[in-house]
Symmetry: C2
Subunit: 396 residues, 2 copies
């Protein structure tokens, strides 16, 4: 019984990603479909934004369920802030897929990502979605993974195998996300597929728990999007005893963690991954609050971009997090260097500290408190000139 | 009875700003002193950061009081995260001033701004502060205003006259601040001087109220500093009836508002001031929460920098603010252009919208809700390539 790192795809799923012309870049795949040969239990975790996109509303209303058969995704247009028309369009996307697969529209889930506030060009999708249905294949994963990207520079897929007795169960994850990554569901799409037999309610709990520990502990710029969504399908090929649910849950969490790390690693314009470890807090929730505050600081993120060991910004971001502590409760290390101990700054080699940031793509800050056992690890990226330029002219 | 916009300095105060060598730039003024000829009532509002600088702790412990005589400020070094030594150094700064003015150290307030986590070079200050005392003059305001700046590109002073009966009372404000401007006291220093006779407790209430409505409604990048501090001195030359406190309070609020607008206008690397008006909320607090969320969005701020009318980012930032609303409750205008009405996007001229941002240094977004009478106006700046470069190598 254990988790391995490389494995075949879960059987019973087919994938497609096609070029429909929804995006202006020629040859860019923009519509993807995942289809299951069998009815799946299905679960989902969605954005906490009050303004949520039409596909989020449609998918949310259809979950959890026991008979899901497909997921359809379009990229380039978020179908968010599109009013009643947006809801009709998202429903129509699922109906086109249902017709092609000879199932009910209710059995199809939908997700979108891209620019907010523009009506979907339905003529393009009426022609394009059937093209995706026709292209469905067990070998289509890479096409699908490409079709959901926006500003991502690479596809994000990950597989974990869970061995239970003599059986090997697979969990596959496919994600997109590079910006609008914020707290309370990172701005991203994620799809988790497994061949385990897990009831929908248990799958929902596993997915929610995994998301809280993974996607909800990354941030690029703290902007929670309108379209966040992680969907899970379990096609039940492998029966699982309830005593083994813990293993499946660990597999789902592992896949979500890998996807979350891939998203931060591909964050828009990023030169660095910043790993923030907070230990010794009264509880995990306070540790997470502090970590999120440090991760959200534009001043911490620009300092890392500039290889500037300006550690006072980290301490001050902890200080305004809202968590009560005294300065003497806090020590800070960057990599192996202790910079601040029990509320007092230590002399340190600024050139060596700067070199540490220059030489390492991943920079680790550890804030050690003396208040208890609570801890949290949080990932963010540096704030770079490229990030600003990328986001200065996204729609125009 | 009314408020005028230009007036003489309040009598009874002297100012100095001198070059001590605390900062590395040659000829840069880095120590400032304000001295009052008479004992003043004094009030202060300070950072809500748990990690607060030594001068904040010292000044806070001495307020409110009825016999304040001076304020001493150093720039270039924040004296924050400096442990017990930092507290001793901040106290010593006030003792040097007290000796020069022949008053008690307790009657002197202190503020600092600059790099966090470095011990103050006390030998420099032991020699430099007496130089400032010697330079004190009723004409020294400009020198003082220069001495408190860090990355500011210009000094920030403002005067309001309040006429009560035949008397004219003056309120003078002097501020610094260009970044690390966040909620819960912007990262800044502000000094408010008046010749009115206002008891310390009333002065404290006036200052707190004014700060909540002004400095606490601006943000550059949302990083609440360790050193925020607004100090007020009232030297009592003009007796004021309690019935006229409302006028004095309005004068103080006017001065604070002018200082807050000057800070945003000089925000690090900013090309634009972004004025966010939120109306029609259930109450002012919810309107402020929404405004702060929009003002804190790196994606909104980069879009303005790029003249990209990507209004979906504004709506989505409102959506994740935590305030409950439905999309149909919200309409959005940029300048005079209605972009989104009752939850539905309107067709608009993207080129004209982009031109509006290009042609105007101040860009106005108004989010109109249909939930009540609550409103808030909030100011922020755009996020530019220059901001990132400025903050990438601040200490090194």
């Amino acid at each position: 019984m254990g988790i391995m790192s490389e494995i075949a795809l879960p059987p019973g799923f087919r994938f497609a990603g096609v070029v429909t012309g929804l995006r202006s870049e020629p040859g860019r795949r923009d519509v993807g479909v995942i289809a299951s040969d069998r009815p799946c239990t299905a679960a989902g975790v969605f954005t906490q934004n009050r303004v949520c996109a039409a596909p989020v509303r449609i998918s949310k209303a259809r979950l959890p369920r026991n008979d899901a058969r497909a997921i359809v995704v379009c990229s380039g247009n978020a179908n968010a802030c599109t009013g009643e028309q947006g809801l009709r369009d998202a429903e129509r996307m699922t109906a086109i897929v249902a017709q092609g697969l000879n199932v009910n529209a209710e059995q199809v889930l939908v997700a979108s990502t891209g620019v907010i506030g523009r009506p979907l060009p339905m003529a393009v999708l009426e022609a394009g979605i059937p093209k995706a249905i026709a292209a469905l294949s067990p070998d289509g994963l890479d096409d699908f993974a490409h079709s959901i990207l926006t500003t991502d520079t690479r596809t994000k897929t990950t597989r974990v195998a869970v061995e239970i007795g003599n059986a090997t169960i697979t969990v596959l994850g496919i994600a997109k996300g590079a910006a609008m990554i914020g707290p309370n569901m990172a701005t991203m799409l994620g799809f988790v597929l497994t061949d385990a037999a897990v009831p929908a309610d248990a799958l929902q709990l596993m997915l929610r728990t995994a998301v809280n520990k993974t996607f909800n502990r990354i941030a690029v710029e703290g902007h929670t999007s309108t379209n966040d969504c992680v969907l899970a399908l379990a096609n039940g090929l492998h029966p699982v005893d309830a005593f083994d649910f813990e293993m499946i849950a660990a597999g789902i969490e592992g896949v979500c963690r890998n996807m979350a790390e891939m998203i931060i690693s591909d964050a828009e314009g990023a030169h660095h991954v910043i790993r923030i470890r907070v230990t010794g807090c009264r509880n995990d929730a306070e540790a997470e609050t502090i970590a999120r505050s440090v991760a959200g600081s534009a001043l911490v993120k620009t300092a890392v971009f500039g290889h500037d060991p300006n550690w006072g910004r980290i301490v001050s971001a902890a200080g305004y997090s809202g968590v009560m502590f005294d300065e003497k409760d806090l020590s800070l290390t960057m990599g192996e260097m202790l910079l601040y101990q029990d509320g007092t700054p230590l002399p340190f080699d600024a050139a060596a500290a700067s070199r540490y940031m220059k030489d390492n793509r991943e920079v680790v800050f550890e804030l050690q408190f003396t208040l208890g056992d609570g801890s949290c690890e949080f990932l963010t990226s540096d704030l770079t000139v490229e990030y600003v330029n990328l986001n200065a002219d996204y729609t125009t």
